[in-house]
């Protein structure tokens, strides 16, 4: 365990530094870090503090949140396929965010953006739980997730196509695939309070998730309040996924790949997997966001493209494994 953190923490730190020093403005590492910390009048300070710093912070916050949410949902549903992007939670959050923007709600009241996204994510998690709660099978979960994803994507496209703004319809791909390009500290402050609330709640569910591996009755007999555990997971997931999607669009597969890789190193304990997945998710999103800037510097390659390229084969592998276990 300690060895795992000794690996993950330095990895995240290194990726943060690389993220801060990657960009089209051709400036050396030392100079850019000096501009970030020491400040000064030049444009480099503006670049570091208003463009690269928020980008790095959002990658850490959103990646960590997606890793956490994936690990918690998989622990609670005892199903390795549960992941906010795949089962429509992120998509529903995107729908909420798009509605907030296109109705003008977010212009009138800035917090309406994360709040509406949160409401979308919350509704999706509730529907999923009702259809495929702890006793529902993998198949039910995935099928319900497909239906919710499809509906959310269709409604998002509809709202954007109805917009009088000529650019709006082209933004469907942003909401489906996610991007951190051109974000600012405003977005960090918009997302942070909701994410922090989610993180705190996730911090309290670890013991319950550990107990749940023994079965519901055993967990209840150990003094775990299952109702409270369920609401904890639901609300925290809605908070972190909603806030992240509101500012960066729906980014899939992070919550699937990261817990899956790290599970063997945490002794199969969902509680321990939470923190590890948060670190792993931050590392994965930082790496993806660096990669999109290195591969196509001039264009805004979407993050979801990279995460899906890594994640989709993983998903197929997991489906294969689940199928074998059932057979």
């Amino acid at each position: 365990m300690t060895r795992l953190y000794a690996l993950l923490v330095p990895l995240v730190v290194v990726l943060c530094v690389v993220s801060l020093t990657t960009g089209p403005a051709d400036v050396g590492m030392a100079e850019s870090l000096r501009a970030l910390f020491a400040g000064g009048e030049g444009p480099m300070t503006l670049v570091m503090r208003e463009i690269r710093l928020p980008r790095m912070l959002l990658a850490v916050m959103i990646g960590g949140s997606l890793g956490l949410a994936g690990a918690a949902m998989q622990g609670y549903l005892r199903n390795p396929l549960a992941e906010p992007g795949l089962i429509g939670v992120s998509g529903s959050a995107a729908l909420g965010a798009v509605i907030a923007i296109q109705t003008g709600l977010s212009a009138a009241f800035a917090l309406a953006l994360p709040l509406m996204a949160l409401a979308g994510a919350f509704a999706a998690v509730l529907i999923l739980l009702a259809m495929a709660g702890p006793r529902g099978g993998s198949l039910t979960l995935i099928l319900a997730g497909i239906a919710i994803s499809a509906l959310a994507a269709a409604l998002t496209s509809l709202v954007l196509n109805l917009s009088p703004n000529p650019f709006a319809a082209n933004e469907i791909v942003f909401w489906m695939m996610g991007s951190l390009a051109d974000r600012s500290m405003v977005h960090v402050w918009l997302a942070l309070p909701f994410m922090a609330l989610g993180w705190v709640i996730f911090g309290t569910v670890g013991r319950g998730l550990d107990a749940l591996t023994l079965g519901e009755d055993a967990a209840a007999s150990m003094g775990i309040n299952l109702v409270r555990l369920q609401w904890g997971v639901v609300i925290a997931t809605a908070c972190v996924v909603g806030a992240g999607t509101a500012v960066a669009g729906a980014i899939g597969f992070v919550g699937l790949v990261v817990p899956h890789i790290l599970r063997p190193f945490t002794g199969g304990r969902p509680g321990a997997l939470l923190l590890a997945s948060a670190l792993g998710g931050a590392a994965m999103l930082l790496a993806s966001d660096i990669a999109v800037r290195v591969i196509l510097p001039g264009r805004d390659l979407k993050l979801g493209v990279l995460t899906a390229l890594v994640g989709a084969p993983f998903f197929l592998h997991l489906v294969w494994k689940v199928r074998r276990e059932r057979a």
Binding site: V27, E50, I51, S163, F167, D182, S184
Partner: protein, 294 residues
């Protein structure tokens, strides 16, 4: 075998049979379809592009122009919206244009190819005009519009008036402020664009070229910040919201726009290669003079 051969023969012959009927029927032959098939002095002209609309409204004889595009009646994009209200409106669809029975259709080179091809197949002469990428091309376009409308003399006079006013707008400028043209999605216009020539003539240096975008393109926010222009010129926001335009409210752009002259917006005068660009140049020149006075 016999049935199959018949079917194949039918499949091959049918389209040409239908086309043959078209040739022999009410439609004019499709062989000569370019604008040179148009009458010397067309009497029912339909224009289907915002920019050709303006040139046609300027140069056409009374009654010669029948219809302009719907975009021309929108005051946000069209400087001649009031005048355009006096014409029938088309939405660039082949069917509605065919029903107007034009003897010449004027389209832009970005007009839907399928529509243009369809009109030509129906035997309607279509003149396709390039958009202007420079001020010199504005004169060329006016000449060309005069030629296709059979109004060469009117075009000659309009070009002379345009060039006189253009020359009058040239200023002796000692210190040229450095300007960036920055639109939604971080799109910038380089020197070799109409917008680039507008600000160059008004006495600005465009940072796009020194940043490596002579033709324009998507310029990352970081490059804009590092270039540190004296003034950022951007488009008017459209109604409704979009993430594409959000970049114009980014703290970096806001900081750069926080100058004495405030936020400078391009508008409908910048869109087309018509004499309207003179208004844009004049406005930018006044802004530069105000910057000098500060």
């Amino acid at each position: 075998m016999g049935l199959r051969a018949t079917l194949v023969a039918l499949a091959v012959l049918l389209p040409s049979a239908v086309a043959g009927q078209g040739h022999g029927g009410a439609l004019r032959p499709t062989g000569a379809v370019a604008s040179d098939a148009a009458p010397e002095r067309p009497r029912r002209v339909v224009s289907m592009n915002l920019c050709t609309d303006q040139l046609a409204m300027m140069l056409a004889a009374p009654g010669q122009l029948v219809s302009v595009s719907a975009l021309s009646t929108d005051p946000r994009s069209s400087p001649m919206a009031e005048q355009a209200a006096g014409y029938a409106v088309n939405h660039g669809r082949a069917e509605e244009i065919w029903l107007m029975e034009p003897d010449l259709v004027i389209a832009g080179s970005f007009t839907n190819r399928a529509t243009v091809d369809m009109l030509r197949r129906l035997g309607v002469p279509v003149a396709v005009m390039e958009p202007a990428y420079s001020l010199a091309q504005v004169s060329d376009l006016m000449h060309e519009m005069g030629r296709v409308l059979g109004r060469a003399a009117e075009a000659e006079a309009a070009v002379a008036a345009f060039e006189t006013r253009l020359d009058a707008l040239r200023d002796e400028v000692e210190a040229r402020p450095r300007a960036a043209i920055y639109h939604a999605n971080g799109y910038t216009s380089g020197d070799r664009t109409l917008a680039g020539e507008i600000i160059a003539l008004a006495g600005f240096d465009n940072i796009a070229a020194e940043a490596g975008y002579p033709m324009g393109g998507v310029m990352p926010l970081e490059i804009l910040a590092m270039a540190d222009p004296d003034i950022v010129i951007s488009g008017q926001p459209y109604p409704g919201a979009s993430r594409s335009e959000e970049i114009l409210g980014h703290p970096v752009v806001r900081a750069l726009r926080d100058t004495a002259v405030g936020a400078v917006l391009t508008d409908r005068d910048w869109v087309c290669g018509t004499p309207q660009v003179l208004n844009a140049i004049e406005e930018m020149r006044d802004i530069r003079r105000r910057m000098e006075a500060e």
